[in-house]
C-alpha cells in the first residue's frame, strides 16, 4: 500500500509539472532555497560543536521544538497543502483508514519542506560524531523520530482545524481562538519586551529541561545522555518521542476515519428559521442596484460565519500579523515600534486578502451574471460584507499595538495607517477580483488545500495586488513612518490622509472595478467553471 501511494503521488506530481511549467520553476526555486539553508545550518552546528555539549543540547532542544511547533502552525496560516492525496478521494477504495495512513504519510512527505526539515534535524549529527558511536546512533534515531513528529503535527493540525471550522459552532470557536491568541500574545510581547533578548536567552536552560522530556524536544536531548554514558536515559527520551508519535498517529488515523465516514463537505446541519436575506427590507430604494448591494453584503456576512474557507482566511489574516508582530518585537531592539505597526499589518492583510473574492463564489457566480447585477453594486456589496467586521478588528489591533508600545503620542498616525491600508487594500481588491481570479478550494472542500494548476496564476495575482496595495497606500505609509521616527506632530495629518485617501481609493476601486466587472462578468464566470 505504501509503495502504491508513493507511486501515485509521483505520477500526479509528474502530470502536474508537465501541464504547468510554473510548478517546475517553483519546485526548483524551493529546492535551491532549501540548499541555500544548508551552509548556514552546518556553520551553526560546527560553532555549537565547539561549545560544551550541555549548552549545545539546550539550544538544539529549544530550536528543535520550535521547528516541530512550526510544522503544526504554519500550514494553518499559509493554506496550500497539497490535497492530491486527500483521504476522501479514497472513500470508494474500501480500505480502512489504518491501512491507508502509513502510505499517505510517506507519500505526503515528498515535499521540499520535508527535505529541508530532514536536513535540519540530521544536522546535529555534526556535533555528536565526535562524542562516540552511541551518541551518533541516538542522534540519527532522534532525527528520524523528529521528522515523523513534524509530519504528524502538520496533518493533525489541519485535520482538526478543518473539522472545527466546518462545525456549526465554528463562528464561536473562531472568535474564542482569536481572543485567546490576543490574550496570550499581549503578555508574551510584554514579557519579551521587559526581558529583552538577552533576558529571554537566560531562560533557555529551564525551558530546555522541560521540553527535553516532551515529544517535541526529547529527540534532540537524547544524544547528550548517550554521550554521557547513561544509555537508559537516552532510550527513555527516545521512548518519549516514540510514544508521542504513537499517540499522534492514533489520533490522525481517527481523524482520517472520520473524514472517510463523514466528509466535511456538508453544511453542518445548521438550521435557520428566519430569512436573513430579505429581512427588514420593504420598498424599492431610489437606486434599485442598492438592493443587489444589500443582498450581496448579507450573503457575504453569512459566508464569513458559515464557510470554512472564509473562516480560515479570517484566522490567517488576523493571526499571521499578530505572530509577525510578536516575533518582530522579540528580535527587534525596539519592540514598541514594531507593535505600532500591528493595526496597519492587520488592516492591510484583511483588505488585500479579498483580491480573489469572486473565485470563492465558484460557479455559483452564474446567479450574479444571469441577473446582470451592476458592477458597482456587486463590488460595493462585497466590500461592505468585509468592512463591517474588518474595520473594528483593524482599529482594535491598532489600539492594542499603540498600547503595547506605550507611544500614545503617535496613536493617530498608527490608526491612520491602519485604516488607510484596510480601505486601500479593499479598493485594490475591488478591481483585482474582477480581473485576476485564480482557483481556490470549492465550497465544502478542505479549506487548507491548494488547487492543482493554480500556482502560477495565484502567484501573479498576489504579487500584482500586493504591489498595487503598497503603491496606493504609500502616501499614508510614508507619513506614518515620518511621524513615528521624526515628527510626531504629523499624526493628525497622517490620520486625515489615511481616512480620506482610503475612502477615495476605495470609491475609485469600486467604480473602476465595477466597470471592469460589467465588461467581463461572463468571462469571469467562464474562468470559474
Amino acid at each position: 500500500m505504501v509503495a502504491t501511494l508513493v507511486r501515485l503521488r509521483l505520477r500526479i506530481l509528474g502530470h502536474a509539472l508537465r501541464r504547468d511549467t510554473w510548478r517546475l520553476v517553483l519546485l526548483i526555486l524551493g529546492l535551491l532555497w532549501g540548499l541555500s539553508l544548508l551552509p548556514g545550518l552546518a556553520g551553526a552546528m560546527l560553532w555549537l560543536a565547539r561549545e560544551p555539549a550541555e549548552f549545545a543540547t539546550e539550544i538544539l532542544v529549544v530550536a528543535g521544538s520550535l521547528v516541530v511547533a512550526g510544522w503544526a502552525v504554519v500550514p494553518l496560516l499559509v493554506p496550500g497543502m497539497d490535497d492530491s492525496l486527500d483521504i476522501s478521494r479514497f472513500a470508494t477504495a474500501g480500505q480502512p483508514a489504518r491501512r491507508l495512513a502509513p502510505g499517505l504519510l510517506v507519500a505526503g512527505a515528498l515535499t521540499v519542506p520535508t527535505l529541508v526539515t530532514a536536513g535540519a534535524t540530521a544536522a546535529p549529527l555534526l556535533i555528536w560524531l565526535r562524542h562516540g558511536t552511541a551518541a551518533s546512533l541516538t542522534a540519527v534515531a532522534g532525527a528520524v523520530l523528529a521528522v515523523v513528529t513534524c509530519l504528524l503535527a502538520a496533518r493533525i493540525a489541519t485535520g482538526v482545524s478543518a473539522r472545527v471550522l466546518a462545525s456549526r459552532r465554528a463562528r464561536e470557536v473562531g472568535a474564542t481562538v482569536g481572543v485567546l491568541l490576543a490574550v496570550l500574545a499581549v503578555p508574551g510581547v510584554v514579557a519579551l519586551g521587559s526581558l529583552g533578548l538577552e533576558g529571554a536567552l537566560e531562560k533557555v536552560p529551564t525551558v530546555a529541561r522541560v521540553l527535553g522530556w516532551t515529544p517535541l524536544g526529547a529527540p534532540f536531548a537524547a544524544p547528550l545522555a548517550a554521550a554521557e554514558g547513561s544509555l537508559g536515559e537516552a532510550l527513555a527520551r527516545l521512548g518519549v518521542a516514540l510514544a508521542g508519535i504513537g499517540a499522534a498517529f492514533a489520533l490522525w488515523v481517527h481523524l482520517l476515519g472520520r473524514a472517510l465516514r463523514r466528509p466535511v463537505s456538508r453544511g453542518g446541519a445548521a438550521r435557520r428559521r428566519a430569512d436573513r436575506i430579505v429581512r427588514g427590507l420593504r420598498r424599492l430604494p431610489r437606486r434599485p442596484g442598492l438592493l443587489a448591494t444589500l443582498a450581496v453584503a448579507r450573503r457575504g456576512a453569512r459566508y464569513w460565519s458559515a464557510d470554512p474557507r472564509y473562516l480560515s482566511a479570517l484566522l490567517g489574516a488576523v493571526v499571521t500579523p499578530a505572530l509577525v508582530v510578536v516575533l518582530g518585537s522579540a528580535i527587534s531592539d525596539t519592540p514598541g515600534t514594531v507593535a505600532l505597526g500591528a493595526g496597519a499589518f492587520v488592516g492591510g492583510t484583511l483588505g488585500w486578502g479579498r483580491h480573489n473574492d469572486v473565485a470563492y463564489d465558484g460557479s455559483a457566480f452564474w446567479l450574479h451574471v444571469a441577473a446582470r447585477v451592476p458592477g458597482w453594486a456587486d463590488r460595493l456589496g462585497r466590500t461592505l460584507a468585509t468592512l463591517v467586521w474588518a474595520l473594528p478588528v483593524t482599529l482594535a489591533a491598532g489600539v492594542a499595538g499603540v498600547a503595547l508600545s506605550g507611544r500614545w503620542d503617535v496613536a493617530p498616525a498608527a490608526l491612520g495607517a491602519a485604516v488607510g491600508l484596510l480601505l486601500g487594500g479593499l479598493g485594490v481588491s475591488a478591481v483585482a477580483s474582477a480581473t485576476l481570479p485564480y482557483p481556490v478550494p470549492e465550497a465544502g472542500a478542505n479549506p487548507f488545500a491548494a488547487q492543482i494548476g493554480g500556482v502560477g496564476a495565484s502567484l501573479v495575482a498576489q504579487v500584482a495586488t500586493s504591489t498595487a496595495t503598497f503603491l496606493v497606500c504609500s502616501p499614508v505609509l510614508a507619513l506614518a513612518a515620518l511621524t513615528v521616527w521624526r515628527e510626531p506632530r504629523l499624526g493628525g495629518a497622517t490620520l486625515a490622509v489615511g481616512v480620506v485617501g482610503g475612502v477615495v481609493a476605495l470609491a475609485l476601486g469600486i467604480v473602476l472595478g465595477g466597470r471592469l466587472y460589467d465588461e467581463r462578468a461572463p468571462r469571469l464566470l467562464a474562468r470559474l467553471t
Binding site: 435557520r272 443587489a292 452564474w366 446567479l367 464566470l525 467553471t529
Partner: protein, 254 residues
C-alpha cells in the same frame, strides 16, 4: 410574423480546437414549450448558455423577444429565467434565502420578493427543507430551489437545462404543471433533455441537435414524421455503430 421568443443566428463556440457549437440557427416561437434533444456532447448546454447571457459566443447573435442578449444585456436579462445544469448554488443559504437572494439581485422590490418566495415554496413543495442549508439538500430538492430562483423575477422566457434530472416523479409532475400554466399564460419554455418520452409528453416543439448544429426542428409532429421521437432521433443521428460484445460480462461464466 411574430417576433420569436428566442432567435439564434449563426452561433459559434470553440473550445481549443473542438467546435462545440457550429453556426447554429434556431427560432423558438413565443408561447411554445420547446424541447432540445441531442446526444452527449452535442452542444446543448453550450448553446443554452450563450442564449441566456452566461457564455460569450465566438460568433453569431442571440435574440430574446427581439433584444440582442449580448448587445443589450441589461434589457435582455429581465426577460430570461435560467436553470443551468452543473453549476453550483450559493449553498450556505437556506432555500428561502436563496430565492430571496435571486430576487434581490434582480432588483425586485423586497416585499414582492418575500411574497413570491412564499408562493414558490408552496408551489414547489419546499416546506420540508425550508430551514436547511441548500448544501444539505438532495439533488432533486436542489433542482427545485434552482427552478424557483429562475422564476422569481417573472421572466417571459424560461431556459431550463435538464430540469427533470434527479427529480422524483411526483415533483416532476408538479413542475410540469407549473411550466404548463406558464406556457398557457403566454410564456415560453425552452428545455434540454435526454429523455425522449418526457419531451414527447410535454413539448409542443422540438429541435434535434447533433455536433453543434440543428439537425431537425419544428413542431413535434413535423419532427417525428409519423415515427416515435426516439426512432426518429436515432434515425437522424445514426444508431450506435456495431456494439463490441463483452463476452466476459456473463455472471454465469464465473
Amino acid at each position: 410574423m411574430d417576433v420569436p421568443a428566442v432567435a439564434l443566428r449563426g452561433l459559434v463556440k470553440r473550445f481549443g480546437r473542438t467546435v462545440a457549437v457550429d453556426h447554429l440557427d434556431l427560432d423558438i416561437p413565443a408561447g411554445s414549450f420547446y424541447g432540445i434533444v441531442g446526444p452527449n456532447g452535442a452542444g446543448k448546454t453550450t448553446t443554452l448558455s450563450m442564449a441566456t447571457g452566461l457564455l460569450v459566443p465566438d460568433g453569431g447573435r442571440a435574440l430574446v423577444h427581439g433584444v440582442d442578449v449580448w448587445a443589450e444585456p441589461t434589457v435582455a436579462a429581465p426577460l430570461i429565467g435560467v436553470l443551468p445544469d452543473g453549476l453550483r448554488l450559493f449553498d450556505r443559504l437556506t432555500g428561502p434565502e436563496l430565492i430571496s437572494y435571486a430576487g434581490l439581485l434582480r432588483r425586485i422590490a423586497p416585499d414582492v420578493v418575500a411574497a413570491r418566495r412564499d408562493d414558490l415554496i408552496a408551489a414547489l413543495d419546499l416546506h420540508v427543507a425550508g430551514s436547511t442549508l441548500v448544501a444539505d439538500y438532495s439533488a432533486g430538492m436542489t433542482k427545485k430551489v434552482a427552478l424557483a430562483c429562475a422564476l422569481v423575477h417573472a421572466p417571459r422566457v424560461l431556459v431550463l437545462d435538464e430540469p427533470f434530472e434527479a427529480v422524483d416523479p411526483v415533483s416532476a409532475a408538479g413542475i410540469r404543471a407549473i411550466l404548463q400554466r406558464f406556457v398557457d399564460a403566454g410564456g415560453t419554455v425552452v428545455m434540454s433533455s435526454h429523455v425522449m418520452a418526457l419531451v414527447e409528453r410535454t413539448c409542443t416543439h422540438v429541435a434535434v441537435v447533433g455536433a453543434g448544429r440543428v439537425v431537425a426542428a419544428g413542431s413535434l409532429d413535423e419532427v417525428r414524421g409519423g415515427q416515435d421521437l426516439e426512432s426518429r432521433f436515432v434515425g437522424l443521428l445514426g444508431g450506435p455503430a456495431q456494439t463490441p460484445e463483452l463476452s466476459w460480462l456473463r455472471p454465469s461464466s464465473g
